[in-house]
Each structure stands twice: as C-alpha cells, then as structure tokens.
C-alpha cells in the first residue's frame, strides 16, 4: 500500500452464506418460496440473498428441485 494513501473504513463479515444471481427473477423466485423462509435471512442487495449460517443445504435442494444447477463455492476452513 502506498504510505500516502488513507485507510478505507470497512466492516468485515466472515463466513457468510450468500446466494448470488444476476437474474432478478431467480432472486424473486427463491425469496417467494415459503419453504425457504426459515433458511433465508433476507435480500441483501438486488442481486444477493443472505442465507442463515449453515443453512445452505435446503436451499441447494430446493434450487435443484426448481431445475436450477447452483454453483457452490466452499472455502476450506482456516
């Protein structure tokens, strides 16, 4: 980092479960599934949904049932 540059204030959220899609209809489709109400915390941004910690499996199962093939990105534990 350039010593002359100021530091950017940021808040860090670690080990977050996020569903991301550029297709707004998919986001709406997932949000409208009553079955997933307990797994979804809410819409974080127009293109992302915040999933409750450790609750990705039911979401993946439901997406597969809906005919989607989600790409799952897992990070190895630190």
């Amino acid at each position: 980092m350039d010593p002359g540059q100021s530091r950017i204030p940021v808040k860090v959220h670690r080990r977050v479960c996020i569903l991301r899609s550029d297709d707004a209809t998919i986001i709406e489709e997932v949000l409208s599934r009553k079955k997933l109400q307990n797994e979804i915390a809410g819409r974080l941004t127009p293109s992302s949904i915040l999933i409750r910690p450790g609750r990705t499996e039911p979401i993946i199962a439901e997406l597969l049932k809906l005919g989607h093939t989600p790409k799952i990105i897992q990070r190895p534990p630190l």
């Binding site: 204030p9 977050v16 996020i18 941004t45 799952i72």
Partner: protein, 765 residues
C-alpha cells in the same frame, strides 16, 4: 482392510518416532544396538534421529538386511515382492510358517528387533488425517514427525513379546520401512523357483536333514509347460472403470452396512448390478461376488471411505494421476489385506472373533513365486496352489475342512490379477491355464513408478452428436478414466467404452472442480475428430445455467460506508465481486491486503452474535449500534420495525416498532417465540409488553367497551362503606379505585336514591 494404510505409508517416519516413544528403555537399546550399532549408549531422541538417517543410507541398509536371520530375510523378500508396507502381524507369521520356519513369531520379532519394521501405534494424526470431504488423503511431509500429545502418558513395552501379548484395542499392525523393502528388489531370490521345482521344499525345511527330500526337489530337469497359443494380456484398466462405475452409483447415496457387516438389501442390489459384475471379456473364470470385491478395492485404494456404517465415495486418489503402474500396485495390495471377500468363498462378512483369513498371506506368497520365476517361464496356477496347500498353515495338516480346499488361485489370478494386466495368461496343452508376470507385472513388482514404454495414444475419444462419448481402451489410463467418470455416465465397457453426457453428469463435473473450459479442453485434447459444435454449445449451456446461481457457503463480505469507498478499494486492487452499492464479496480471504483498510467492525457468522440494539424506554424504539451489528440484522431490522428519519433526512440508526411492522413479521410466519428469541439475541432482553401487544393484538379477545358513571367519595372509608352495603353493591358495576365505584348509566337513578336515603349529597352528573 488395513486402517488408513495409505496414510500410514505416507507417514511412516511418524510411525518410527511413535514406536520409539512407546518402547521401554531396554527395547530401545535392543533396536538401537541392532540398527545403529552405536559405540556408546544413545538417548531415545538421538536413536530416533539416527534411525531415520540410516533409512536413507542404502549401504548400511544392505548390511542390516544381511545381518538378519534367513527367515526374516525371506519374510522381507515376500513383502518386497508384494510391495506392501503395512501388514497384519498374523499374516507375516503365516508367511514365515508357510516358508518352513517353525517359529513364525520369532521371525517377526527378529524383524522388529532389527529396526527395519515397527509396530503401528496409531497417532491421532494418522488416524484422523486432516481432509476435506472431497479432498484426497492429505499427504504430510515425510520428514517431519509430529509428536502426539497422548504419547507421553502411554505405557511402554519392555519387549516385543510384551507388545504381542497386549497390543491394545487396535491389534497387531506392523509396517516395514519402505526403503528396506526397496533394497530387497533385485537381490538373489531366496524363494525356490517352483516353475522349475514344483515340489520344492519350503526353504525353512530345505536344510533340515530330518525331513525327507521331496520327489520334485531332486528333479531340476522338470520341464516347464509350454502354451498352445501366445499369452494374452489385458490393458489393466478393467477395475479402474468398474470402480469408477460404482463411484458414480455411490456418489449421492453411500453404501450402508448393518451391524453384522452385511450390506443393506438395496445396496446389495447396487453391488450385484449386472453392468458392474459382468465378467471382463475373455475372462475364463467366474469371480464370486465381484461387485463386493470392487467395493473392497475402492475402499482399499481410497476411492471410498468408511464412515461408521456408511461407505462414502470420495475423490479419485492421487495415485491415479501418476500413471498405471502405481495405481495398479495399490489395487494389487488390496488382495494382501484381510477382508470379507475371498477368491474361494466370495463375500462373507467377518464375524467378530471368527475372522481367520489365511488368504492375504497365501496370495502374497503366490505373487512372490510368480516374481521368482524366469521371465519367459509359464506356470499353471495349480502348481503354486498345491505348494500353498502343502505348506501354508491355513491348509496343511489334518482337520482342514474339504470346503477350504476348493481351488481359489486360478480364480484370483485369472479373475482378479489378469484384468489388472499384471499377468499374462495362456492355455497349456492339457487345457490348463498358465500364467507368468506381464511386463507391467514385473514393473509393479520392481517398485518402479513409471509406466511401460507403450505407444502413446493421446486421442482416444469419439464424441458423437447424440452426446455419447466413445472411449477406445488403447489410450485409457486411470487419470483419463477418472476424468471421464466425472464428465459422463458409464453406459458400456468393452473394447470401446461408451459414456453419456447428461446435464447431471456435466453438473457433477463442475461441482467437483471442473470448469466449462477444462471439460472442453479435455474433450478437444483427446478426441480423434473435432468435437461437434452442438456438443460444445450444449455443455456450455449446461455450464452457464449453473453459473446463473452461485451459492457461497462461507464467504467474506466487506461492507463499506459508501459506494465511493468500495470503488476506491477496487481501484487499489481488491479482488472481489461487487454485491451492491456498498458490499463486496471475497471467497479467498487470504487474497485481501488488509493494510488498505481500517476495520470498523468484524463479525464471524458461525459465532452467536452479541446484542447490538438498545431499546428505548417505551420498548418500541430501537437504536442499532453500527460497530456490533451484522448483515443478518440489516435484513431483519427493516422488517421488524420502521426506520426513523435522521437529521436532514439522512439515514439513521433509529427504528420504531409499529403495529404495521409487527403485522409484517406475522405474515412471514414469525411466532411469539421467534420474536422473543430475536429480542433476547439482539437486545439482550425480552420484548416489552407494548411489542407483545402489537404482535398479539389480533389474537387477543375483543376488548369490552362498557359505559359507566363513576361515583367518587371524599375518602376511602366512605367508599368501603358503600361497597359493603349490599343494596348499593347490587346497582354498582365495579370498584375501580380506593375512592371510586363505577355504576351503569341506567342505574344511576337507583344509586342516587340509595345515597339520598343515607342523606349523602352528590355533585356533578
């Protein structure tokens, strides 16, 4: 199977260190004297260090091998020819007994005392190697022994017989130092060449004058059989393909075992699937319960892993990437481990306490005999089998059940080893099957890692417009089979194999770490003709469909105070996916240069959050503490409450619970318990009555609206008097305070009359 034998092999220096720690002082001295020949007594730690040094010194290793008793040398020879490092002690004793040495235990103890073999005292690191569910066994650095903490408190063994008597709950497992086995390769064999001397005595008996010589022993001119036609040898890919097929069938649904060690019925059906168990082409024998053996091999080489009573499919082992020779060696070694499958009886789950299995040692001896023959000599399996039946303690002597004497070696050699490509097979003049090691077999036996020099066929695939992949076997090897198994579904395997590309199979490949580009490059690189454009488009379409929804199961989200700050960070090289105006997502935390940031807060979502909301005195107003809040709260708080405007219309951290906001969460399925839990989690206290009222108002009974007139006396005593007066109480509704009684408007006249009768005056209404 030997528990975690692959891991034991990788971690053998740890096993050496572990063993020395568990040896008593006397035992350390015995091993140190034999192995290091020190001039002065060495400490335990120095002995450990010097032992590991000696194992990389071939000259001293050769001297130590020569210093062994002949019986131990021959034990090493069989182990070396089998290329097997980890053994159950019982199998080693059986080999020594079969080779004619009367005291098999003494032979094994001699090997242990020499310091060339060690008991396995399984450390935590070896039993539980760090591994991701879909990662191959984690190879630890071979030269960095890790000290297990529990080692300090374990009992020490004063002699190897002491260990034999009390091995602990994990039994007697011995590993032989791989470098010592390697030094045995190419030495003058001690085993007899029974293709020349079919009735040769066991080496241990050969010098015993009290045993009469065998007839065949004095007939060195015994002619070796000559095959009618040239021998046939396979490409060695058969079991890799079958294991891959079973891997595909097991990936989503693990195999399950009952407490008795038997597979559940539906899993038996999978293991008896005709596609899986169809005999390999040209194979002249029927292998009993082939599917079960394939499952055992898959577990032995690490494609499957047993977790409790379930057998899970894992990723293909690293050895499959390193060529056919090493991968075949691992397959072959599965035969030398005790298991529930034998070539004689097929699948027979072992019962606790009745698990005697002489086949590992018998098959290891049979393999060693093949490796002792001249390269161009042939031998009928019956000759080796007859030698084993004569000498092996599992068959020799009286009292052996006739069922135990059923032929088994031909089934093993022709049905298991021949499809591995390790032996050549031919028919003799009398119709009997003859065997000898193939070129690949000699390579496996020699411990070499490279594959034989064969014509390289890099292009072996034909991709058809109907999404079928034809794979010609000439070019297949374990790594290509593994890759094909990830991309397509096995439909048929013969001289040309057929796989089918499906959305699920492509999705599976992508899930296992492949990408559209890598799949395309693989198909392009190995296809004999250009891959049809329709296929590329179809695979691309499946892959892109998958890219449309991405789930990050454990990502890092950076929350900036403003959009320009996020732009600034991206401009300074932050590798992140933009989520919105102020949020960016990073999958690999290590790629972030945190020096450019000033952290205003940090939150780990796998840890229970700390309270981050202060509640106003009325219980309805909420103040969010920014430094402690998180994204979950950011999505929850606008639902549970309404934001209050800040100064000059700016966004504030103040929110207010309203009847409307409570209605919203009710519609979302929240219950009073959920609300109570949320309040305690986020505010550290229970919701105030006003919040509960807003939430439950609709569920409450209707409030009764009662018209009434209040009679308020001068003092409490007067009101008490009126309330106790039955006539007055009869017209009253309720005492609502110390000085006040309510009266229904219709009865005010009667009440006034009663007051008048007492002479009490009233004012007001």
């Amino acid at each position: 199977m030997t528990p975690n034998s692959q891991s034991l092999i990788t971690n053998w220096p740890i096993c050496v260190a572990e063993a020395f720690d568990r040896y008593g002082d006397d035992l350390v001295e015995v091993v140190s004297t034999n192995l290091l020949k020190p001039r002065a007594k060495l400490t335990r730690e120095i002995t450990k260090e010097k032992a590991l040094e000696i194992f990389s010194n071939p000259v001293i290793l050769d001297r130590r091998i020569l210093g062994l008793e002949t019986s131990a040398q021959m034990l090493l020879e069989v182990a070396a020819k089998s290329q097997k490092t980890v053994w159950f002690m019982g199998n080693l004793i059986e080999i020594a007994l079969a080779l004619g040495w009367k005291d098999g235990v003494a032979t094994v103890v001699n090997l242990l005392e020499s310091g060339l073999a060690y008991p396995v005292f399984k450390t935590t690191e070896i039993l539980n190697p760090a591994q991701d569910p879909f990662e191959a066994l984690d190879p630890k650095p071979a030269q960095s022994p890790v000290i297990s903490p529990h080692r300090q408190t374990s009992n020490k063994y004063q002699s190897f017989l002491h260990w034999v008597a009390s091995p602990g709950i994990l039994g007697h497992t011995i590993f032989i130092v791989p470098n010592a086995l390697q030094r045995m390769i190419g030495r003058e064999p001690g085993l007899p060449d029974i293709s020349q001397f079919p009735k040769a005595k066991a080496p241990g008996l050969a010098k015993d004058d009290t045993v009469p010589p065998d007839e065949g022993d004095s007939n060195p001119e015994n002619p070796t059989p000559v095959p009618m036609f040239p021998g046939i040898v396979t490409d060695g890919c058969e079991w890799f393909i079958r294991i891959s097929l079973l891997w595909q069938k097991t990936l989503k649904n693990p195999l399950r075992l009952t407490q008795a060690g038997e597979y559940f019925k539906k899993d038996q059906d999978r293991l008896e699937d005709p596609q899986l168990v169809s005999p390999p082409s040209d194979c002249p024998v029927t292998v009993p319960d082939l599917g079960y053996w394939i499952a055992q091999m898959a577990e032995g080489v690490g494609v499957f892993e047993r977790v409790d009573i379930e057998v899970h499919a894992r990723s293909f082992p690293e050895s499959w990437e390193k060529g056919k020779t090493g991968a075949l060696r691992a397959l072959l070694q599965c035969s030398f481990d005790p298991s529930s499958w034998t070539p004689q009886d097929g699948w027979k789950p072992q019962v606790q306490g009745d698990s005697y299995d002489p086949f590992p040692s018998a098959l290891a001896i049979a393999w060693a005999f093949l490796g002792t023959m001249k390269p161009n000599a042939w031998i009928p399996s019956a000759v080796i089998e007859a030698w084993i039946l004569r000498n092996h303690p599992g068959w020799s002597g009286a009292g052996v059940r006739p069922s135990r004497k059923k032929p088994f070696l031909e089934t093993w050699l022709a049905g298991i080893v021949w499809p591995m490509g390790l032996v050549e097979m031919a028919k003799g003049k009398e119709g009997q099957l003859l065997f000898r090691l193939s070129e690949l077999g000699w390579l496996v036996l020699s411990g070499a890692m490279g594959d034989p020099e064969t014509r390289v066929v890099p292009k072996m695939l034909l991709i058809q417009p109907n999404l079928e992949i034809m794979a010609f076997r000439q070019g297949l090897d374990p790594s290509i089979i593994a890759k094909l198994s990830m991309i397509g579904l096995w439909k048929a395997f013969g001289p040309a194999c057929v796989l089918q590309l499906t959305p699920d199979s492509v999705y599976r490949a992508l899930e296992l770490g492949e990408s559209f580009e890598s799949v395309r490059n693989f198909l392009d690189g190995h296809s004999t003709r250009p891959v049809p454009q329709t296929i590329i488009d179809q695979v691309g379409s499946w892959a892109s469909k998958r890219e449309r929804v991405v789930i990050h199961s454990s990502a890092m989200v950076l929350e900036f105070t403003s959009g320009p700050d996020l732009e600034e960070a991206l401009g300074r090289g932050l590798m992140a996916v933009r989520l919105g105006e102020r949020h960016a997502l990073v999958d690999n935390e290590e790629s972030v240069d945190f020096r450019m940031f000033r952290l205003s807060g940090s939150r780990d979502y796998r840890i229970t959050p700390e309270p981050c909301i202060r509640v106003g005195p009325d219980g309805l107003e909420l103040f969010v503490e920014e430094s402690k809040s998180d994204l979950l709260l950011e999505t929850e708080i606008p639902v549970i409450s309404d934001p209050l405007p800040g100064k000059n219309g700016a966004i504030s951290n103040r929110f207010r619970i309203t009847p409307g906001s409570m209605g919203r969460i009710r519609e979302r399925g929240w219950t009073l318990e959920t609300l109570d839990h949320w309040f305690r989690l986020r505010t550290g206290e229970a919701p105030k009555p006003a919040v509960k009222l807003f939430f439950l108002a609709r569920a409450r009974k209707p409030i009764e609206v009662i018209p009434s007139i209040l009679f308020q006396a001068e003092d409490e005593e007067t009101t008490d008097g009126l309330w106790l007066w039955q006539e007055f109480k009869a017209v009253a509704l309720e005492r609502v305070g110390p000085r006040t009684i309510s009266i229904h408007p219709d009865r005010v006249g009667q009440a006034k009359e009663l007051l008048q009768s007492l002479g009490l005056k009233w004012t007001g209404y």
